[in-house]
Symmetry: C2
Subunit: 392 residues, 2 copies
């Protein structure tokens, strides 16, 4: 059994999105969970983001339920605040808990009012179908332009017994570090205090969602929440905490990679590894710049080993380096050696670039050890077809 104990799930079609498929999801923890969350750093923040942050503060990091809809971001809306709070209040009442224990989240179009009755009118239906087996149904209800469900699981054996971590996410466009139209919910049945959860989420976010770029756009609604309800009754010792951290990171890295691989119109996951830079932060900036370069992303789409574009992107990352010390590998083949063309078999490499995962390694030769990894995807016609008419 992969799913953490003590959580139930439900999804329904509330009529928020045009297409008639589930657009409202509910996650309930049987006992109130300790929780941490990270939100978009966009100056423009959707109402549910503001309300979620407020609830989390008021409850001192306790969450009983997550109420999430797709199809409407409830952002830049006159009634946004009212809709978000009314939905939480109605759910809290039905669950016999307080509003502040409900975490709302939304994704979809910006600037269109939400009819709050669509949500409040669906709550009884949701609650009556709550079940530990509906995890996938909620994971499906939060999708927008995604082409597939994105979930990940991890089990950890501790001295006192086994604990589980499960995650679901959505996101295919407007994806950028710090962050994007990303909703991510990571649930565990271990027992951890909110301060520890916050730190674990921070570390894991940095190396997963914040190391991910589909198009460089950052949304107004990003929310990633981590809940620990203790239903396993297994409490990790201080020494075992790194194992939990590792499991959470592993789940979130998998979710982030699934987002990149499902980037709008994309066919390939691109994993960029930069190493040998002065600091991790410098390596990160290099990897991020390459991850965001439309010219690199289109070259990979065309299986073109055009390493000059990778080199040029490194060069405008704002990080000083000696071009004569840089090596670039594509699919583990050396294509640029000390800043110059290496001798490689172009036909063979082109074939290998057709694979669904493309690795770009950027290595500064020297004694520095700063490194970072970033996830991206190729840029294809499909991205434009999807985004030229998303709203209409």
């Amino acid at each position: 059994m992969n799913l953490p104990l003590g959580y139930r799930y439900a999804a329904t079609y509330a009529g928020i999105r045009k297409e008639k498929k589930p657009d409202l999801g509910l996650i309930v923890s049987d006992r109130t969970a300790d929780a941490a969350a990270v939100f978009t750093r966009n100056v423009v923040q959707a109402a549910p983001v503001q309300v979620a942050r407020r609830h989390l503060n008021a409850s001192k990091g306790k969450v009983t339920a997550i109420l999430v809809n797709a199809g409407n971001a409830n952002c830049a809306t006159r009634t946004g605040e009212r809709v978000a709070t009314a939905s939480c209040r109605a759910l809290a009442k039905a669950l016999k808990t307080k509003s502040k224990f409900v975490l709302p989240a939304s994704t979809g179009v910006i600037g269109v009012e939400v009819d709050s009755k669509l949500i409040t009118g669906s709550i009884d239906r949701l609650i009556s179908t709550l079940s530990p087996d509906n995890f996938d149904a909620v994971a499906d209800a939060i999708l927008t332009t995604d082409t597939r469900r994105k979930i990940a699981f991890k089990r950890v054996s501790l001295k006192e017994g086994e604990v589980r971590v499960a995650g679901m996410t959505k996101g295919a466009g407007m994806i950028h570090p710090n962050m994007a139209t990303t909703l991510g919910f990571v649930l565990t049945d271990t027992m951890l205090p909110p301060a520890v959860l916050r730190e674990m989420l921070r570390v894991a976010t940095e190396r997963s969602y914040n190391s991910l770029s589909v198009d460089g756009d950052m949304s107004t609604n990003d929310t990633v929440a981590l809940l620990a309800n203790g239903a396993s009754t297994v409490k990790p010792s201080a020494k075992e905490r790194p194992l939990i951290q590792e499991a959470i990171l592993s789940v979130m890295e998998s979710l982030a990679q699934q987002i990149a691989a499902d980037g709008e119109g994309a066919r390939k996951l691109i994993v960029i590894q930069a190493s040998g830079f002065k600091t991790d932060a410098q390596a990160r900036q290099i990897a991020r710049t390459v991850a965001n370069s439309p010219l690199v992303k289109t070259a990979i789409a065309g299986s073109d080993p055009n390493w000059g574009r990778v080199l040029a992107a490194c060069g405008y990352a704002g990080i000083p380096f000696d071009p004569a010390s840089i090596d670039i590998f594509l699919q583990d083949a050396l294509v640029c050696s000390k800043g110059l063309a290496a001798d490689f078999d172009e036909t063979a490499l082109k074939r290998r670039l057709d694979e669904s995962e493309v690795r770009i390694n950027i290595i500064m030769n020297g004694k520095d050890r700063g490194e970072a990894r970033f996830f991206s995807c190729d840029l294809r016609e499909g991205y434009i077809q999807i985004n030229g008419s998303y709203r209409t």
Copy 2:
């Protein structure tokens, strides 16, 4: 007569690019011109950029000839330095001048060695065809993925007589402020000392090439040079200098707009105006972020008045502002009023978004007066078709 006096031009096919059309251009000033130039800020700089900068320093801002090729960037090449200096030396010898008075420039693929004989072997042919009438021929020879010639002209009447400014440029992709695969050559027959030219070029570059984004990629070869040869014998008075500045700016703005309008695969020029921000720099950062947003660029491609994406892009520009104070106009129609959806005729607006020039105005309501303008283009399938196979 629009062309400045005292310049001659020649172009030929030297065999540098595969396609058999002119790829080598020469501009000669009959008298040594005062000159200023700006170059890419990419850490990785092509050999001709390094050589051009060195020549300009050695000559204290004097230029007799510009030698420019398309089809090969001469960047990340073992022999780059040798090829660039040998080409300049051969040209200088044939023109009976010194190498330091020759400004080299290259554009094209990165990481492929240039056979210097292709260039040196073409110099006699170029010189024998030098003519004041071949301006357009050079403007054509520098093009790569451009679909059309990009030139601009301006005449200014001063007290002593008339002076002329003419410019040619190339660039359709890898276009980003500070700068991109942009070559630009602006020629005037007025008389101005190098220090004044440098300042005029700096000001005009900021508001033209550095206010331009096609794909956010920045190249290794960007060079914009401004030459003043005094052939008109008209020397502007100190009071008249702003007129010259204005003419140079007007030519360079036109060139920048032509680049944006011809962005790879693009059909529309997007002009983004941000105003009412604390400083011009803040307005610039907002306008630049909107200009670079793939989601905004694809929405415009689809004539979709999706102002939520404009608002979201403003929000992640890194500039603090109150979303409740922002107005957004598309084609002069108010679509977002004080951060909320305005009431607009969607069908009519969609039709107006089909025009070849799209204006996005972002206005912060308040007493601040910082403003900026940025040029961009829509993002279409063509960009990906061009860049998925540019090298192969």
